[in-house]
């Protein structure tokens, strides 16, 4: 299990918050003790957090300021994984979170703007891995396709292009399903509201691939 996972890309609307909450919900349901840090000043996760609700056991800590790295270090003593959702633009808080993270997940929709943003974020992580703070322990990176529609040419094209260029794209992906926004209205995730449904299975597949990569395989280092 990764200690700290940060979802980052320099574009908004790609599903970072949904994916972060979904992974937290999945790991919560299988017995882990995740915590979410909402480092996005839009407070997408924090605004929906209900301490009395079905995901009340997954605390959401709003920390959009640059001291997010300290909050991560505090929370990782009691929680695993610490999942950090960041704002959809390059900013100091995101950089601070990435410096403190074990795995960076870069979500992207199958669209050229998202691909550009994903590659820019990948390059940012490469720069972070060149700092003294990350020498010898590079941030791992995995890209995840989100909001895809099964069998579309554009999704296949984006996958082929990224994989062909050597970017670390997960095989599992988050299909575009109405279950996410429906569950999100109450700050929940399909793993909680419909654990046997297709969306929950998608999330489980992403989580399992991440775990498999963490335990047994190589997630490409964003090294120079």
């Amino acid at each position: 299990m990764y200690g700290v996972i940060t979802l980052a890309t320099s574009k908004g609307g790609v599903g970072k918050s949904s994916l972060g909450r979904s992974l937290a919900a999945h790991w919560f349901t299988v017995g882990h003790k995740p915590v979410l840090i909402d480092a996005d000043p839009q407070r997408t996760l924090a605004n929906r957090y209900d301490p009395e609700g079905r995901m009340g056991g997954v605390p959401v800590v709003a920390e959009p300021e640059e001291r997010v790295g300290e909050v991560i270090e505090e929370l990782r003593r009691q929680h695993a994984p610490v999942i950090v959702d960041t704002a959809g633009f390059r900013n100091r808080t995101t950089i601070g979170a990435l410096v403190a993270t074990d795995l960076a997940i870069i979500p992207l929709k199958p669209a050229v703007e998202d691909v550009d943003a994903a590659i820019a974020t990948y390059e940012l992580i490469r720069e972070i891995n060149e700092t003294d703070e990350r020498q010898g322990r590079p941030v791992k990176v995995a890209m995840v396709l989100t909001m895809t529609m099964r069998g579309t040419v554009i999704a296949r094209h984006v996958r082929d292009q990224l994989a062909g260029a050597g970017y670390p794209l997960l095989r599992a992906e988050m299909l575009n399903r109405v279950a996410y926004p429906e569950a999100g209205i109450e700050g929940l995730s399909p793993s909680i509201t419909d654990p046997d449904g297709a969306a929950a299975r998608d999330i489980a597949a992403v989580a399992q691939e991440l775990m498999k990569l963490a335990n047994h395989e190589f997630i490409k280092d964003a090294a120079a």
């Binding site: 915590v35 300021e65 640059e66 909050v71 100091r92 808080t93 950089i95 410096v99 940012l124 209205i185």
Partner: protein, 108 residues
């Protein structure tokens, strides 16, 4: 101590909170309609006009800031809630709705 490279990276990016926005949250779904079987939006009264919110950034001792973060995490509350609660204790009028913010209006 931040390294020179990381310092340069940080200086190249803006602070996250310079673009803070808090969109109006949607209302939760009501229970599924027995006749149609599909969830219907719950009718809600129009919320009262909200006073515009602005950022507050102050320098405080690091240890106090750390304790605030831990307290917020332990209680599942936001820093905003903690700060506004403290502000109210100074005698400044702060309503419960203002303390709760948008989180407090998300469910009936």
């Amino acid at each position: 101590m931040t390294s020179k490279k990381l310092g340069a990276l940080l200086r190249s990016a803006p602070p996250a909170t310079a673009r803070a926005e808090t969109p109006e949250p949607l209302q939760p779904f009501a229970a599924p309609d027995a006749t149609s079987g599909s969830p219907q939006p719950r009718p809600t009264a129009k919320p009262p006009a909200q006073e515009r919110e602005v950022p507050l950034q102050v320098l405080i001792p690091e240890g106090i800031r750390r304790q605030l973060g831990v307290k917020a995490a332990q209680e599942g509350r936001s820093l905003r809630e903690l700060v506004l609660t403290a502000v109210r204790s100074l005698g400044i009028e702060v309503t419960e709705a203002q303390v709760k913010g948008k989180r407090g209006r998300k469910s009936a």
